[in-house]
């Protein structure tokens, strides 16, 4: 019994020792399996996307295909001239990892590329860095020097930028493409307004590749081609634009003015032939321009109190409403008193009995007030709106201002209507003003100002843009009467210096005060001279507006804007071969 007990005890001990080892082994296997399972889980599930991406990168080529940005053209006779195009430049970049003596390389690179030495040293400092941009838009000289440099790890790469080969020409109209810290896109002008159409749609390519990185031509391929942007052909003629830019620059410099704007429009269609502002900038080097306000287009964004040039609109309203005729007579007492204010003629003279034509010839404030009174406030406000004031013209440019005719909302405040009758107290943009003169020139229709002549789609399809009539504003007879009255202004009135020998020209001067910003009243000694008109009277082809801001040597528009108008109109009539209708002596 005792031996038997001892034996069974031994066996028990033996079994428990053996079981421990098995359990240990099982635990080891289990732990190993758990570790492998965990590792597999982390590789296949947690890091699935990362490894999938690595694998795909090894086996596939993915490439985003960038569309080519559409180009912008000016009219050039019967052809076109590129105003905004895409140009390939070279960029210098470094792979610091591949550069052996980084400090020496930095010194040499900075001297060639005219970069700050410390900046380049800093860029090349990281020995694991694979890519550092050194400089964009390299010159030919820089390219050749970099090629001769022969430093491994310094390379050139092509990159496309927007380029404006005509320099400053039509700069504020075309705008430019620039970076807003996220992407390159149209920032101002047509480049911004037409961004979506010009940019196009990116495409992509996905293709399997072999171990050597070569495309496997028989393998599956996903290819979505990029859709290039559309090209725009403008209604602006490059020679007209250039000549008018020249005239405006000379005028501004001659009179020591701060700035100026000239617009030329085809009277019947509303097509813009030139949109000129001075001073301007070179859109290819916009970053060098210190005054960012120059990027704006004052022709459409800068509303101003235009002054007496508005009297033609007041008179058109009076005639169209049947309240006055060109030879209707009123008595000018030299001033009008209203609501405690005394409104005088600009020359502070009294003219006595005057016809409506003489009101325009002598630019009488009292005469404009007389017409407004005859028409009545409500009708005057309605007509003003119908002429397009207080609303956007719809031109294809960003930042267009509506102007401000809010003073015409309070129908009981006569004083505001009286001042509006001669162009004070309401603001208009140069584009609105020239468009309203085109109404008189073309027989009474308000046209939508047109800047785009045609769109050319990537496939070659051409979409021609037709002129668009917004509404009829005045009767044809009214327009004809007004044309003759405005002709008389140029022949007998303040607009004599706007005349063009051999042609009948109609137009009106306006010398406006400049409202103080943020407070009531007008700036002392600052004026804006304007002249708006058209020619030839019997079959008006062109409407032109000249606006000169703050000329220093002369006060009145007849000495600043009117002569510039004459030069512009003369050029237009000759350039477009409009035959003279009148005899004239040289």
């Amino acid at each position: 019994m005792r031996n038997g007990k001892l034996k069974s005890h031994k066996i028990k001990i033996g079994l428990s020792m053996e079981g421990w080892r098995i359990y240990f082994l099982a635990l080891l296997v289990f732990l190993s399996a758990a570790v492998i399972f965990f590792r597999l889980y982390s590789l296949q599930v947690t890091a699935h996307d990362a490894y999938r991406s690595i694998a795909q990168n090894q086996h596939y080529i993915f490439q985003e295909l960038n569309p080519e940005r559409g180009e912008i053209f000016l009219k050039d006779g019967n052809g076109t001239y590129p105003l905004a195009i895409n140009r390939e430049f070279k960029m210098a970049y470094a792979v610091p990892k591949e550069i052996k003596n980084r400090e020496e390389a930095a010194i040499r690179i900075s001297s060639i590329l005219e970069l700050d030495e410390n900046l380049v040293i800093e860029k090349l400092a990281d020995s694991e860095d694979m890519f550092e941009v050194l400089k964009h838009k390299l010159t030919d000289e820089e390219i050749s020097k970099i090629k001769k440099l022969e430093i491994s790890g310094v390379r050139l790469m092509p990159e496309s930028f927007r380029y404006y080969p005509a320099g400053e020409l039509a700069a504020q109209t075309v705008g430019f493409v620039g970076s807003d810290e996220k992407e390159y896109k149209g920032r101002y002008g047509l480049e911004a307004y037409w961004e979506e159409d010009l940019r196009g749609t990116p495409g992509d390519l996905s293709q399997e590749r072999d171990a050597g990185g070569r495309w496997i031509s028989i393998a599956d391929r996903e290819f979505n081609p990029a859709q290039n942007g559309i090209d725009l052909v403008l209604t602006i003629d490059r020679v007209v634009q250039y000549e008018i830019e020249k005239i405006l620059k000379e005028t501004v410099e001659k009179h020591g003015a701060d700035s100026g704007t000239i617009l030329a429009m085809e009277a019947r269609t509303g097509k813009i032939l030139a949109m000129v502002n001075h001073p301007s900038f070179n859109p290819s080097e916009y970053s060098k321009c210190e005054d960012m306000s120059l990027f704006m287009n004052p022709s459409v964004s800068e509303a101003y109190e235009c002054g007496s040039v508005f009297k033609a609109i007041t008179m058109a309203i009076g005639v169209d409403d049947g309240k006055v005729e060109p030879d209707s007579v009123y008595y000018d007492s030299g001033s009008v008193r209203e609501a405690g204010y005394t409104i005088k003629n600009s020359d502070e003279k009294t003219y006595g009995e005057q016809t409506m034509t003489q009101v325009l010839e002598e630019s009488l404030n009292t005469g404009a007030i007389y017409v407004e009174k005859q028409v009545g406030n409500k009708k005057f406000a309605d007509y003003t709106k119908r002429f397009g004031f207080g609303e956007k013209t719809g031109i294809e440019l960003p930042g267009e201002s509506r102007g401000n005719i809010n003073n015409l909302k309070a129908l009981k405040r006569d004083i505001q209507f009286f001042t509006a009758a001669f162009g004070q107290g309401i603001t208009v943009t140069p584009l609105q003003l020239i468009n309203s003169y085109s109404v008189i020139a073309n027989g009474g229709k308000l046209m939508k100002p047109q800047l785009i002549e045609k769109k050319i789609y990537p496939g070659g399809k051409i979409e021609k843009i037709e002129p668009q009539e917004i509404r009829r504003v005045i009767k044809k007879e009214t327009a004809e009467k007004l044309s003759q009255m405005l002709r008389s202004v140029v022949e007998n009135g303040h607009g004599k210096r706007a005349a063009v020998p051999g042609y009948l020209v109609g137009g009106k001067t306006g010398t406006a005060q400049v409202a103080k910003s943020g407070e009531k009243g007008y700036e002392e000694g600052i004026a804006i001279g304007s002249f708006a008109g058209f020619a030839p009277i019997e079959d008006a082809q062109f409407t032109v507006l000249v606006k000169i801001y703050n000329p220093k040597d002369v006060q009145w528009a007849e000495s600043t804007a009117a002569p510039a108008f004459s030069r512009v109109m003369k050029f237009l009539l000759e350039y477009y071969k409009v035959s003279p209708t009148e005899e004239y002596e040289l």
Binding site: I85, R87, E88, P165, A166, G167, Y242
Partner: protein, 119 residues
């Protein structure tokens, strides 16, 4: 060469051409399939090599032509830009000043009232 034999008669003998035994032999048996397959594979191989080589040459030519086309397009684009720059009216104005050319101040139209002689 056909052999002759001597034919002896009663009092003569002559040579007579030995009659040739003609046998109509027909070749029978089966064509070795493996051999045919080998020939076929060999020819196919040759054709394949030729095609591959030909394709490779064509591919190379196409690539070269495409490269040339791209370069031509680039050059064309550069020339277009250069033309636009040279045609820039601001540039022309600057160049003309350098050449001491004077600007046209006035265009005079003459009225034709009879025969005009020009020289």
């Amino acid at each position: 060469m056909a052999r002759n034999k001597v034919v002896a008669g009663g009092n003569y003998c002559r040579w007579r051409r030995k009659k040739q035994k003609t046998k109509n032999k027909t070749i029978t048996g089966s064509i070795n399939t493996s051999f045919v397959m080998a020939v076929f594979i060999f020819l196919s191989g040759l054709f394949y090599l030729y095609s591959i080589n030909n394709n490779a040459i064509k591919g190379c030519q196409v690539r070269r032509a495409e490269k040339e086309l791209t370069e031509q397009k680039k050059e064309n684009e550069q020339l277009r830009i250069q033309e636009a720059e040279l045609n820039s009216l601001y540039r022309l104005k600057k160049e003309s000043e350098g050449l001491n050319m004077s600007e046209l101040k006035e265009i005079v139209y003459i009225k034709e009232s009879g025969p005009i002689a020009l020289r």
